[in-house]
């Protein structure tokens, strides 16, 4: 049960967050088929550090980009994603 520093809500228990997808599986809008298919159906899936998209589903609801070690679970950083926002 990680503690995840939400840039909007502060430190919160992992149970409030949902992992959505790895950053390398984001299909950009209007991606060419080959790009979309590659993004959607293959993963680096590293036994190491990767960037991932999470959502603070049971908190502020915002999307977050998290860089994290998948063996130790250590979080290197968390960055907010989304529209421009006031502090």
């Amino acid at each position: 049960m990680k503690q995840i520093p939400c840039p909007h809500c502060g430190n919160r228990a992992q149970a409030e967050f949902v992992y959505e997808r790895s950053a390398d599986s984001v299909v950009p809008l209007d991606a060419e088929p080959a790009v979309a298919i590659a993004a959607l159906f293959s993963r680096a899936n590293l036994r190491g550090t990767e960037e991932e998209l999470w959502r603070h589903a049971h908190g502020c609801g915002m999307w977050l980009l998290i860089r994290r070690d998948r063996v130790s679970h250590h979080i290197e950083w968390v960055k907010p994603i989304g529209p421009e926002a006031l502090p």
């Binding site: 049960m1 990680k2 503690q3 228990a13 992992q14 949902v18 959505e20 984001v26 299909v27 950009p28 809008l29 209007d30 991606a31 060419e32 088929p33 790009v35 979309a36 298919i37 959607l40 998209l53 959502r55 589903a57 609801g61 915002m62 999307w63 130790s72 679970h73 250590h74 994603i81 989304g82 529209p83």
Partner: protein, 919 residues
């Protein structure tokens, strides 16, 4: 002053205990030594330890829903009325038939079951019944638990696990540094080691000193919890504690029997101490062979003398403390020390050096003598108690759970905590155990037990090693070593020692198995908290719930929601009520709660751009006040949801989608908005619960709406703002039934007024309430799809028959993945209709086959009937189905023994031209 004695029973025998005694202490006090039977051979067993590591003395306590099997007598404080029963014996503890297994044990070595019971699986199933009945420990519970278990969060700067002197010092230092401290002790008393070995600390009696620190912890905002076990340590110092508010089987005063804590700590200090190791010799499992510190605990803390003639067998200095305590209590003591005599040392007790036990003699009534080698020669010592100490195993479980490594302490012959990546440190005897020697196993290896509860002997280890199960994990799994309820807390080191000797390596080279949570077993009830029984998962009540409830519907659990399925009249069955309701909708009018639909307000200058990404249909062409059917594709191009989109204002849209997919849709919209389209000027607000919604459907629905709103009802697929019963409503002319119909959406706080107004008008017009059952009949006949059975996430819009509605301009998400080659295959499944040729009901879910015996080419997704005319119809997925209209095939359900001949048709059975939508 003598406190009153506590009455309890053991196997029906009325007994008494002194206050503060554990069941084990009380039984020993009463001279009861035989407490249980072992798992495999049903050997008679007594009490080995005085703590949570106990492998032998397991009992069942409590009654009814509070019956708790496998409770350790050493970890159970006697309470008035305690009713404890021994386990795994029949007919009684002293004459257990299962004991015959002891006699054939020679043919039942470790892993014997892998080598026999061959034959067909049914034969194993037959043998297995007997094995299952013989195995298991306590009785299987049968009743629901009447008690509550709380689950509670806590946050602290420092969590100290263990309240021995080292833990108390850590707690005191943290308090002095201004920290919020949690101090956790599994025993009922703080600093239990000071009850066993009273001492003066910092010039005060140890107990006083301990009490002062506890008070300091409390007054500085921290907490002190006794009877609390730290069972698991997870990422980022997240620690689960299980606190016994009352003893197992006891009736709680406030309804709560345990509290399970989820603690996030800044730092965790493990002052978890060490567990004494037994010595490995023949018959070391006899009642009356006990751990040395445990004996001392019984003597000093509980005032019980477990034996009068005692042999203390030790590999370390701690055994001498036991010898002294025993002598002070009046016992006759001999010490067997495995080590050579130290120079000039006098302990005032008969000591034999270079002495190690070989075999105990005795029976179910207990040990009678201990045979030992003393300086190479065998000698027998008559005794009624053996107190043994093979050194100490630090409790490193939580350290290891935290991802910590282990180091080897040669002097103590023990693994000690090494580096860890979490903010966790270990102090006291868990970090620096007392020096001790390792003595190998002695005596007949077949009777020398390493894992007491699971009956693993030295010869079992030898056999496993000989057969190639040499990794510790193989050894553990093959022999079941350390897999009993005590998780090998006492026996693992002896096993490692044996294996290292066989392999010719050191113990650290042999390694250790991984410790996983929990440290001590945790009640399932505590893990579930209050979320049990009918509250295991929340039930969602729609805004109109109470109004339905007053009308006594048949309820449907639809996911989390509770929805009316039909409103039967008189003795109507569900099917009868559903059909009546559907027919009334077809001929007059009906009303139905559709509040649970997912609803989103999409607003802003870029709302259309956003919606045309998400919806596969066009949105931009929608005129103000108009709406249309829409559907959405996943990124892989397959349709996953459908609904409607309405233009409420210039830049304001309402998007509805399926109830079951509501949270998935909310997440999806949030992803598209928040990540893919972060630069758009748009807001997407979930209004699923804000709007309650009532569908009014039927040829008379326009008349009903006109009467309610005192204005002409909007035409099909138009939306107007209006008022019903004084409440503002959105009136959307949309149909899911094939009839002219409306959805009335309104602020859920107006639920009662709006419902009652509509209900009065509907009933006055000869209409009815209808539920999901009728809704299904109506929509199937019309060929409307639902998410789940029809839109199952495996078909494209084209295959669902929605192709001509797809936005040809593209731009919707999922488009690029539809270019994958196999989607061009016209033999993929497609949505079609079916009608039964002989009128029989078409079994929902049945397989579509060309003939019985052929392979399935599709299946029935929804089955219904022609509401007014009768005749069975269905929706289905069929390979290449859109080109097979007119073909006759079979809907085949072997599980229901039904086979119905059906004709493939269009899925639109009712008013395909949509003429009924016009007034």
């Amino acid at each position: 002053m003598n406190a009153p004695l506590i009455n309890f029973t053991f196997d029906g025998r009325a007994l008494t205990a002194k206050p503060g005694q554990t069941l084990a202490a009380a039984l020993l006090d009463q001279g009861i030594r035989l407490v249980g039977r072992s798992f495999k051979y049903h050997r008679p067993r007594g009490i080995l330890s005085a703590g949570i590591e106990e492998p032998n003395a397991l009992v069942t306590v409590g009654s009814g829903g509070r019956e708790e099997p496998n409770t350790r007598a050493t970890d159970l404080y006697v309470y008035e009325g305690l009713n404890a029963r021994s386990q795994n014996r029949w007919p009684s503890l002293s004459s257990d038939v299962g004991g015959v297994l002891s006699l054939v044990s020679k043919a039942l070595p470790a892993g014997f079951y892998y080598k026999t019971f061959f034959g067909p699986p049914k034969l194993w199933l037959f043998y297995e019944q007997f094995i299952r009945r013989a195995a298991g420990l306590g009785p299987a519970p049968t009743k629901a638990d009447p008690d509550h278990y709380a689950q509670r969060a806590a946050f602290c700067d420092v969590l100290v696990v263990g309240s021995g002197p080292a833990g108390l010092i850590a707690a005191r230092d943290a308090v002095r540094a201004g920290k919020k401290v949690f101090l956790v002790e599994q025993d009922a008393e703080l600093a239990p080691s000071l009850l066993r070995d009273p001492a003066e600390i910092e010039g005060k009696p140890g107990r006083t000193w301990a009490g002062e620190i506890a008070t300091a912890v409390r007054t500085s905002g921290g907490r002190v919890l006794t009877r609390t076990s730290a069972s698991g340590l997870w990422d980022d110092q997240f620690v689960c504690l299980s606190e016994k508010l009352i003893e197992p089987g006891q009736i709680p005063a406030n309804g709560f029997s345990q509290r399970y804590w989820h603690v996030r700590a800044g730092e965790v200090v493990l002052a978890t101490g060490a567990i004494e190791r037994p010595l490995t010799f023949a018959n070391n499992d006899l009642p009356g062979v006990m751990l040395s510190q445990a004996v001392r605990t019984y003597v000093t803390r509980f005032g019980v003398l477990p034996g009068k003639r005692v042999v203390v067998a030790t590999t370390n200095d701690d055994g001498y403390l036991t010898a002294r305590a025993l002598m002070a209590a009046g016992a006759e003591v001999v010490v067997l020390d495995s080590r050579p005599a130290p120079a000039g040392h006098s302990s005032g007790v008969e000591v034999h050096n270079l002495a190690a036990p070989v075999m105990a003699r005795g029976g179910k009534r207990g040990v009678k003598a201990l045979v030992a080698t003393v300086d190479g020669a065998e000698r027998s010592f008559a005794c009624d108690l053996v107190a043994m100490s093979g050194g100490f195993t630090p409790v490193v479980h939580l350290h290891m759970q935290a991802g910590g490594k282990l180091d080897w302490d040669q002097a103590a012959q023990a693994f000690v905590p090494g580096e860890t990546r979490q903010n966790v440190r270990t102090v006291g005897l868990a970090a620096e155990p007392q020096p001790a020697e390792t003595v190998g196993a002695a005596g007949n290896p077949k009777a020398a037990f390493v894992d007491f509860q699971n009956d693993v002997t030295v010869s079992d280890l030898d056999l496993a090693w000989r057969e190639g199960y040499r990794s510790v994990e193989h050894l553990k799994r093959y022999t079941t070593l350390g897999m009993a309820t005590d998780q090998g807390k006492t026996g693992n080191m002896a096993a490692l020692d044996r294996i290292a000797r066989r392999e010719g390596i050191t113990i650290p080279e042999a390694g250790l198995t991984t410790f996983r949570p929990p440290f001590t077993p945790v009640s399932m009830g505590a893990l579930a908290g209050l979320a049990t029984g009918e509250h295991a998962q929340p039930t969602r009540h729609p805004a109109l719930y109470d109004l339905h409830a007053a009308r006594n519907p048949i309820w449907l659990n639809a996911g989390y929601w509770k929805r009316p399925r039909a409103y039967p009249q008189g003795a109507e069955t569900l099917a009868q009520a559903g059909l009546r309701e559907a027919r009334t909708v077809r001929t007059a009018v009906g009303m139905c709660d559709v509040s649970t639909l997912a609803k989103f307000e999409v607003q802003g200058p870029d709302a259309v751009q956003f919606l045309e990404r998400v919806c596969q249909t066009t949105v931009g062409k929608l005129a103000l006040g108009r709406g249309r059917y829409t559907f959405m594709a996943r990124e892989d191009g397959l349709v996953f949801d459908d609904g409607t989109v309405w233009r409420l204002g210039d830049q304001r849209y309402l998007l509805t989608s399926s109830t079951g997919g509501a949270s998935r849709m909310a997440t999806w919209l949030s992803y598209v908005r928040g990540h893919l389209c972060a630069d758009l000027k748009v807001s997407v607000t979930c209004v699923q619960e804000h709007y309650a919604a009532i569908a009014v459907a039927g040829p008379k629905s326009a008349q009903v709406m006109a009467a309610l709103t005192r204005s002409e009802a909007p035409r099909h697929m138009s939306v107007v703002e209006s008022t019903i019963a004084g409440a503002p409503v959105l009136l959307m002319a949309a149909s899911f039934s094939g009839e002219r119909a409306f959805e009335v959406h309104f602020d859920a706080s107006q639920a009662e007024a709006v419902w009652q107004a509509i209900e009065a008008e509907v009933l006055a017009t000869g209409g009815t309430l209808y539920g999901i059952e009728a809704m299904e009949l109506l929509r199937i006949e019309k060929g409307h799809l639902v998410v789940g059975p029809d839109i199952d996430g495996r078909l494209t819009a084209e295959e669902l028959g929605l192709g001509r509605m797809v936005n040809k301009a593209g731009g919707w998400i999922g488009q690029s993945c539809l270019s994958r080659p196999d989607f061009a295959d016209k033999q993929r499944k497609q949505l079609i209709g079916l009608e039964a040729i002989d009128g029989k009901a078409i079994p929902e879910g049945s397989m579509l086959v060309r003939f019985v015996g052929a392979e399935a080419e599709g299946h029935v997704t929804a089955s219904g009937l022609r509401v007014l005319e009768g005749g069975s119809i269905a929706l289905a997925h069929l390979k290449g189905g859109q080109a097979r209209h007119g073909e006759e095939i079979y809907a085949h359900s072997p599980t229901r023994r039904q086979t119905v001949k059906v004709r493939v048709t269009s899925p639109h059975f009712y008013d395909p031209a949509g003429e009924r939508y016009r007034d």
